[in-house]
Amino acid sequence: MTAEQIIQQILFFISAALTLGSAVMVVATRKLIQAALWLIVSLFGVAVLYALLDASFLVVVQVVVYIGAIAILFIFAVMLTQRDQRDKGPQLNKSWVLAALVGLATFGGLTFLVSSWTGFGAAAAPIPAGTVDMVADLGTALVSVDQYVLPFEVASVLLLAALIGAIYVAYNRK
């Protein structure tokens, strides 16, 4: 193994530890604002994983959408409802032991499922030579009529529905 590959593995372990550790903090922290900040750390760890996977576009999209918009929305929502934060009381409901068992079972089941699949230990496919700008390929795939133009337009309708629905629910003046 070359030094570069070892560094890659170390980076993977660091970002995996960052992601999983802060994900645990998200579900375990008492103060909700701190949970939101841990969520940001976890999402950033996922962005580093995307960088390791050579998905440049998704790295910046992860930061722009998740950290820049979704996390800010969470923080705003926490601030708006903080009269009922109840940070002192128990943050987990009565059946949390059952929930932990379900979580562990899911993890075990998923790991068993994927490890019995043939492609489990696959090595990374080489990036085909000649792909200069992967983002351009992505754009072409999104708008070509024989590829993903329908999902592209449907995403617009989905966002429209979400905007109208959320405004209708959150904004009931009078």
Partner: protein
């Protein structure tokens, strides 16, 4: 390899030669050379930042008919160093109720969110941090980290004013991010790439090969307005609002931590001056003169770096000009201006440019540039006419509402 044609590669080669002489593997020596390069670049930016403090104070003094710093050194040039020494030996006061970790993290994030922008700025034809193929979105992502640092500072200070200031500032930043992203889409569309290097090259050597300010003047204007809002500078400095909120989200910060917010703000403005230059004014190109025969020497990296710094300074000067001329506006006006004028306008502009760009590209440079320019101007005129009509209707309605009771009182 000639030093004068490509100094960065020359020095990098020289350094890796030295490291190879020490028996270092190629991978590590490359990494070390990169680290040294980044360190030198950031150190240079910090030195520029120190002089920005001096420029800012000198320029604001001239705008307000004062002299500005003039005691320490010629023209007060040593003043910023005295400021730094003062910041370094000040006591660091942390409020008792503050969330210590988040409180200390916020100024660091604020400064680094600006510094990391310099990783993608093309300084010269062969000198840039990294030619990222998602450079434009990286700019937006760094802005997201900046917004996060503000909300962290406001919350961790455990102070009403700080939290109110942070909320106002973040509401401004996220609202104006929409027209900014929309305005950024237009250079991307014209250049066909998101890399900053590609955008600069498209303006000099591309298909029409003209500065994008000529093709999309309205996009440049929208980007200018929304980036001033993103910077939180006057007229959009509701976060500070000295008279109401004392100084917004950094009210509880003192000493070097406050200095980080302050220096970060100045450097942010300067950096955005640089991005105006890169996206709409040809970046490091010398007015396109270097493509002419006999003037090839103008594409020398040293002239290029000088040009980009000059363009950034001019942009910074315009931001200061706006800041010290225009009074602060109210938050409802500010948000209404964004959501009711800038956002619809920028979306209309995207659609217009997308279709016209496809239609006009086959008809030669002159028709293309003139058509795009006129379309932009026409859209701007239509917008101004609609706004004028709306304002007239509002005024008439208000006057009518005022006149009825006035007449009743007179009779």
């Amino acid at each position: 390899m000639n030093f004068w044609n490509d100094p960065v590669a020359f020095i990098a080669d020289w350094l890796s030669g030295i490291f190879a002489g020490w028996g270092m593997p190629e991978f590590w020596s490359n990494l070390l050379v990169f680290a040294i390069g980044i360190f030198v670049l950031i150190a240079a930016i910090m030195v520029v930042d120190i002089f920005l403090v001096w420029i800012e104070r000198k320029v604001v003094a001239r705008f307000q008919d004062r002299l500005g710093p003039n005691r320490l050194g010629p023209y007060g040039l040593i003043q910023p160093f005295a400021d730094i020494i003062k910041l370094l030996i000040k006591e660091d006061i942390t409020p008792r109720t503050a969330d210590k970790v988040v409180y200390n993290l916020a100024p660091i994030l604020s400064m680094s969110s600006v510094l990391i922008l310099w990783a993608i700025i093309p300084l010269a034809p062969l000198a840039w941090g990294v030619d990222l193929n998602v450079g434009v979105l990286y700019l937006v992502a760094a802005g997201a980290i900046g917004a996060l640092s503000i909300i962290m500072a406001g919350w961790a200070s455990d102070n009403k004013y700080a939290l109110l200031g942070a909320f106002r500032q973040v509401a401004t930043m996220i609202s104006y991010e929409i027209p900014m992203v929309a305005a950024l889409l237009i250079p991307v569309m014209l250049a066909g790439t998101m890399s900053m290097q590609g955008i600069v090259e498209a303006q000099t050597f591309g298909e029409p090969g003209v500065w994008f300010i000529l093709v999309a003047p309205l996009a440049a204007l929208i980007f200018a307005i929304s980036s001033i809002a993103e910077l939180g500078r006057s007229p959009f400095d509701l976060n500070e609002a000295e008279s109401e909120l004392v100084s917004g989200y950094h009210i509880e910060y003192s000493g070097m931590k406050f200095g980080m917010f302050y220096a970060g703000e100045l450097l942010h403005a300067f950096t955005f001056g640089g991005f105006w230059g890169i996206l709409f004014f040809g970046g490091y190109s010398v007015f396109g003169l270097e493509t002419l025969p006999g003037l090839q020497w103008l594409s020398s990296p040293f002239i290029a770096v000088f040009m980009i710094l000059v363009k950034a300074l001019v942009g910074y000067w315009i931001i200061m000009w706006v800041k010290y001329t225009v009074p602060r506006i109210r938050i409802d006006h500010m948000l209404a201006f964004n959501w009711k004028i800038l956002v619809p306008l920028s979306f209309t502009l995207i659609m217009l440019v997308a279709v016209l760009n496809k239609l006009l590209l086959g008809y030669g440079t002159l028709v293309y540039v003139a058509g795009m320019f006129l379309a932009n101007v026409l859209l701007a005129i239509v917008t101004i006419m609609i706004l004028g009509a709306y304002a007239r209707r509002q005024r008439l309605a208000e006057e009518a509402a005022l006149q009825i009771p006035a007449r009743a009182a007179g009779d």
